[in-house]
Subunit: 300 residues, 2 copies
């Protein structure tokens, strides 16, 4: 099926009338780096005024949602904390609501403050993470006896800028027990920062997948578990929900995997030729030049 | 083709007569952990007395060869440093002799003293490795500007017990230049230590493969590049060389990949049922219960 190109006022109106909920990717859709894309603020206001629900879905697991919200605010976008779903939050929701992680069990975290805050909010206990005693070199005695907490029921790996051999070793030891669950916040191979690309969560967690020989549950886009997690908190009718993103291989695939409709904007990674030349077997249902074009559906 | 089971005196004699050079895996063939297997010392002496050359081939890249030699000595095995080929040494030989790495270029190392010593011996310059300035957390300014040395012509990754996000990030930045070679000492997913399995070189290097999207040259078993490296230093006639190992998936595969004959011993990982049930498509040319059985070929 080919993607419908939204061009005319009636295209935009039709598109809007089909959905009650819009989920947005952020970078490449709302902004590029530190710059807001044209008319984004007005478009979000317009969609809200039409009575639609909106939420923002990002794989970034490093920052707590409050800091992410600050970024919205600084760009002039007024969003509520409850409208932001990053992959730390979806991991915590998934553990709490979807698999109902037992109260008496703990999580061994590889990751930062963002993950800890979200687990705390859901009342899930954890060890590891930013614990300073884990930020050290492995010692000879660790090779003989890696002290383990028998109440650990899952290993959860996010992006950890303090990753080390001790943490990998301890996580591997927990994962040797098949009953211990294995979750990774997202599979992104790289993490874009101001100076270029850095290793992403999917790369930093690769030693655990490789050494344990186990499969993990990935909680970020394009994995449908992320939508399950969002759904457990943010109620919507899937048949009237559209995901708007800029990447075929994460955003549009995420929508397909999750059974919701999708719309590609051309302000980010994926370009129009992918659609025109039909070079991907993943196609959005709709595409438009930029999010701000939705304002064309306005009467005024 | 099925594997020939060596059982009788004449089997052992025939086997020995076919080869001038024997390459040995160590753990599972010569010893198990810290215990020498039966008659190993006498068997090695016997093979030497028959005028054969011998060498020891291990994927361990962590310890310098001198320390590995100490282990042989402590177990009563008298071996020369030149008979030991670990994957650090093979990496250095590969760079120097096989690909003739340019003198004016440097290597960026992720790994330990073992790698550094071998590169030093071959007169190859390097940065990174055990440099204390690399053993720190990544800082905000690193995200903006990871200082790079323009003379780096290869990234070489071995097992590094001091691995961190800064090293991964810097290696990724070097690897973004397609002209920079990418070598990994071996692909072992785990590293066996006294207390169990720890992440191996193949696991610790996974973030670089994943984030760079590049392929690497692996220098350890089962990759034939290791034999190329050994051959560049230790001359032998491949058609009269046999590899004796205990693992189908590394040792025997290594021999197949390298075009030499192989013999499986049953004192380690792979058991006889793999051969009897023919469950692997990799088969050794010969197999015997233990290395010490070769003494049966003796006249006395």
């Amino acid at each position: 099926m080919s993607a419908k190109h939204l061009i005319t006022k009636s295209d935009y109106r039709n598109f809007l009338s089909k959905f009650d909920t819009f989920l947005f990717d952020c970078d490449g859709v709302l902004w590029k780096g530190t710059e807001l894309l044209p008319n984004v603020q007005q478009t979000l206001n317009f969609i809200r005024l039409k009575g639609k629900s909106i939420a923002f879905v990002t794989n970034n697991s490093l920052k707590p949602r409050e800091e992410y919200q600050k970024k919205f605010m600084e760009l002039g976008l007024d969003v509520k904390l409850d409208e932001i779903f990053n992959s730390s939050y979806s991991a915590a929701l998934y553990l709490k609501n979807v698999i109902k992680f037992p109260k008496e069990k703990k999580i061994y975290i590889i990751g930062g403050e963002g993950l800890e805050k979200e687990l705390n909010r859901q009342g899930i206990e954890y060890i590891g993470g930013t614990d300073p005693s884990e930020r050290r070199d492995i010692k000879t005695e660790d090779f003989e006896n890696l002290k383990l907490d028998p109440s650990v029921g899952a290993v959860l790996c996010g992006l950890d800028l303090h990753i080390n051999y001790l943490k990998y070793s301890r996580a591997l030891r927990y994962l040797e027990n098949e009953k211990v669950l294995f979750l990774i916040t997202n599979s992104d191979s790289t993490y874009p920062a101001s100076g270029g690309l850095f290793p992403g969560t999917g790369s930093c967690s690769a030693p655990l997948l490789n050494s344990s020989g186990r499969k993990a549950i990935f909680l970020g886009k394009p994995n449908p578990e992320m939508l399950q997690a969002i759904e457990s908190k943010f109620k919507f009718n899937k048949s009237r929900t559209c995901f708007i993103g800029d990447r075929i291989d994460t955003d549009i695939l995420f929508a397909k995997n999750s059974g919701i409709k999708s719309c590609l904007v051309l302000t980010g990674i994926s370009k129009e030729d992918v659609i025109l030349k039909n070079t991907s077997n993943i196609m959005p249902d709709y595409y438009m030049e930029m999010l701000g074009n939705l304002l064309n559906a306005d009467d005024i």
